[in-house]
């Protein structure tokens, strides 16, 4: 069985995942969306870590901090007229 503290951490992390996941969809500006998506990534990292899946947590770190913003930011820049749109 999980201890009380772990259960609390899991509940907090999963709540954050839910809130930030919905938040990412509700934010309409793509640039802000990348930022909120990064915070969603962080909350997923915490969730995986407290659920004892460190391998997945590390994968989520590199995907949400490096790969996703790296691909999204140039695309947003290019498709929104050099960051003016």
């Amino acid at each position: 069985m999980t201890s009380g503290l772990t259960a609390v951490l899991q509940a907090v992390a999963l709540t954050l995942v839910g809130v930030l996941g919905v938040g990412t969809v509700l934010v309409r500006d793509p640039l802000r969306q990348v930022v909120v998506n990064g915070m969603l990534g962080l909350s997923l990292v915490v969730a995986f870590a407290v659920l004892q899946a460190p391998d997945v947590a590390i994968a989520e770190v590199v995907v949400s901090a490096i790969a996703v913003p790296m691909v999204l930011l140039p695309v947003i820049y290019k498709t929104h007229g050099g960051g003016k749109g």
């Binding site: 391998d55 590390i58 490096i66 790969a67 691909v71 140039p74 007229g81 050099g82």
Partner: protein, 248 residues
């Protein structure tokens, strides 16, 4: 089709999806209570059988090595697509877009962090089968070192320090070596991807047999694939940036 008709059409589909989801969720084991029988089996047999202490890598690069092979080739194929679509047919180094770093803070922090990031990535790869980590995670982390080179220097610095032929070769050889290591099993008269290299001592870097080898080739392939993506995407970004500047 007006809004009302669309809503009427949407509702039954939403209800059906909700129903299927609820039906699926009620069949799941309770949260945090059950470890599947497959998980319990791996916990029991993986360390004695394969001499690795990170059981996730034992599953990824050995028991389910063929799945990881397919996963790696998905990345390989997508990066080939990026290169086919975005890479100029005749690349001339002098015609690459030019950009400069304007902030001293970014230049200093980027220069200091680039080697640290590369080393950190290599460390995650190297200890992938001993502690949490592995080729995929470490490969992306190592590639971030290249990204920091761009932040600290310029696009041309990044391209000069990661020559195209080297990145292409690393990516291709990383993918091919995975199959090559798989063929070692066939050569020894066992199934494809069978672990035929001596297994070594669990908990040390000399352990795991083909798990260690596959971990490294996956790491090299992933790192090279991401550097290639950075090359092409950053080139697009800087071209837009330069044209926008020229307009103003």
């Amino acid at each position: 089709m007006n809004r009302r008709v669309r809503l009427v059409l949407l509702m039954p589909s939403l209800a059906a999806i909700l129903g299927v989801l609820l039906w699926g969720y009620t069949g799941l084991p309770n949260f945090g209570t059950t470890i599947s029988s497959y998980g319990q089996f791996i916990d029991r047999v993986a360390e004695p059988q394969r001499h690795v202490t990170n059981l996730v890598s034992a599953v990824m690069f050995d028991y389910r090595g063929i799945d990881t092979l397919v996963e790696e080739f998905i990345l390989f194929a997508s990066v080939m697509g990026v290169a086919l679509l975005l890479r100029s047919s005749r690349e001339v180094a002098e015609q690459r877009p030019r950009d400069v770093v304007t902030s001293d803070a970014v230049r200093t922090a980027g220069s200091a962090l680039a080697p640290v990031m590369l080393l950190f990535g290599l460390w995650i790869i190297a200890f992938g089968y001993v502690t949490p980590g592995g080729g995929f995670q470490g490969g992306v982390a190592a590639s971030a070192g290249a990204l920091l080179l761009w932040l600290a220097g310029s696009y041309r610095t990044l391209r000069d320090l990661s020559p195209t032929f080297l990145v292409d070769a690393a990516e291709g050889l990383g993918a091919a070596s995975y199959i090559g290591i798989g063929l070692l099993g066939l050569a020894a008269g066992s199934p494809f991807l069978y672990n035929t290299i001596p297994l070594g001592t669990a908990g040390t870097l000399a352990s795991g047999g083909t798990i260690a080898a596959l971990n490294w080739v996956a790491g090299i392939e992933v790192a090279a694939a991401f550097v290639l993506i950075y090359h092409e995407f950053l080139e697009e970004y800087i071209q837009t940036f330069t044209y926008t500047k020229a307009d103003q």
